[in-house]
């Protein structure tokens, strides 16, 4: 798309917004995702919610510098986007543009982890990366291991989102092994600043780190379990979950009470004492 067309589109969008037309008044083109990723030079101002400015820095590549304002946080995000050959035939809606900024993932990473987070949660992402390194070192002391992939950590903004995407209320880990090789190591978890319940760990200090450590501990465990050429792959849950809890140092008062009750009832077995 040439710059004149882009400028014209931008001007029309700005004009429509400026005229105060409702969301439904914007004709639809493509999804916002394709619009944002394909059309490169644009300047969109959406009332006070989002200010986005983009410029082409080299042929078929661009650097987009966005300033996203979400009261009370202000963050600046720099991303590199891919080429820009697209014909815009109509306009995205205000709602769609808003959604791309609230549902897309940004990342920060280091040698061992990639943290995925939503715009506006940069502080959570940095906290998560810091905690992840603590978790790795803590796990390494009790369970030495080597992972040949970076562990991906997805930070969900709220309970509804993690329930929708992962089907669990707090955190979950995913391990993919193919041909004896670890191909996927992923953790989905609520953001560190989440102030709701953490499955009971909110009673203790550092609930995010505790839950992250529990999920992280599952990764080398299931990697070693599933990469075996032969042998059992269905350990009892007391072993897999108990080891994760031991490694992460998580001892809730309710645990002892449950075990005490099981002991008094004699209702535990070596196969599944927690069942």
């Amino acid at each position: 798309m040439n710059s004149k067309v882009i400028i014209a589109v931008t001007a029309i969008i700005s004009l429509l917004i400026g005229m105060g037309l409702g969301i439904g008044a914007f004709p639809r083109i493509e999804t916002v995702t394709s619009f944002i990723t394909k059309s490169l030079t644009q300047s969109i101002t959406l009332t006070s919610m989002i200010t986005s400015s983009v410029k082409v820095v080299e042929f078929q590549r661009m650097t987009a510098t966005r300033t996203v304002t979400k009261i009370p946080e202000t963050v600046t995000i720099t991303k590199t986007l891919q080429p820009l050959t697209v014909t815009v035939t109509s306009f995205v809606t205000l709602k769609e543009i808003t959604e791309i900024y609230t549902t897309s993932w940004l990342t920060i990473e280091n040698e061992y982890f990639v943290v995925y987070y939503h715009p506006g949660y940069e502080a959570d992402a940095e906290k998560a990366l810091e905690c992840a390194m603590w978790v790795r070192n803590n796990t390494m002391n009790k369970y030495p291991h080597t992972l040949n992939v970076k562990v991906e950590i997805y930070l969900y903004s709220n309970r509804e989102e993690i329930m929708e995407k992962e089907g669990c209320p707090t955190a979950i880990s995913h391990v993919g092994v193919s041909g004896g090789v670890l191909t996927t190591a992923k953790i989905g978890i609520l953001r560190p600043s989440w102030e709701g319940h953490w499955g009971g760990y909110e009673q203790l200090d550092h609930p995010f780190r505790r839950v992250l450590n529990h999920e992280y501990a599952h990764i080398p465990f299931y990697y070693h379990l599933y990469s075996k050429k032969k042998g059992y792959t269905d350990p009892p849950s007391w072993f897999s979950e108990g080891l994760a809890e031991y490694i992460s140092g998580n001892y809730l008062p309710s645990y002892e009470e449950r075990v005490r009750e099981a002991v008094l009832r004699g209702s535990y077995t070596i196969d599944e004492p927690y069942s």
Binding site: K142, Y143, P144, F221, H224, L225, K228, K229, K230, G231, Y232, D234, P235, P236, F239, G242, L243, Y246, V259, R260, V263, L264, T269, I270, D271, P273
Partner: protein, 50 residues
């Protein structure tokens, strides 16, 4: 369990090529599942005084 057998034994239990978890206890820890369970019950009895 971890303190009793140490991390090397625990990791070998995970990586064991024994066909079942109970077989892995026999092979990697060198005790029968019954002995393992009795040790666990003794630990719990001492801890909870039952």
């Amino acid at each position: 369990m971890y303190k009793e057998y140490g991390k090397e034994k625990i990791i070998s239990l995970i990586k064991s090529d024994a066909p079942t978890f109970l077989d892995a206890i026999r092979k990697e820890l060198g005790i029968s599942p019954a002995e393992f369970e009795q040790g666990w019950k003794t630990y719990l009895a001492n801890k909870f005084g039952s």
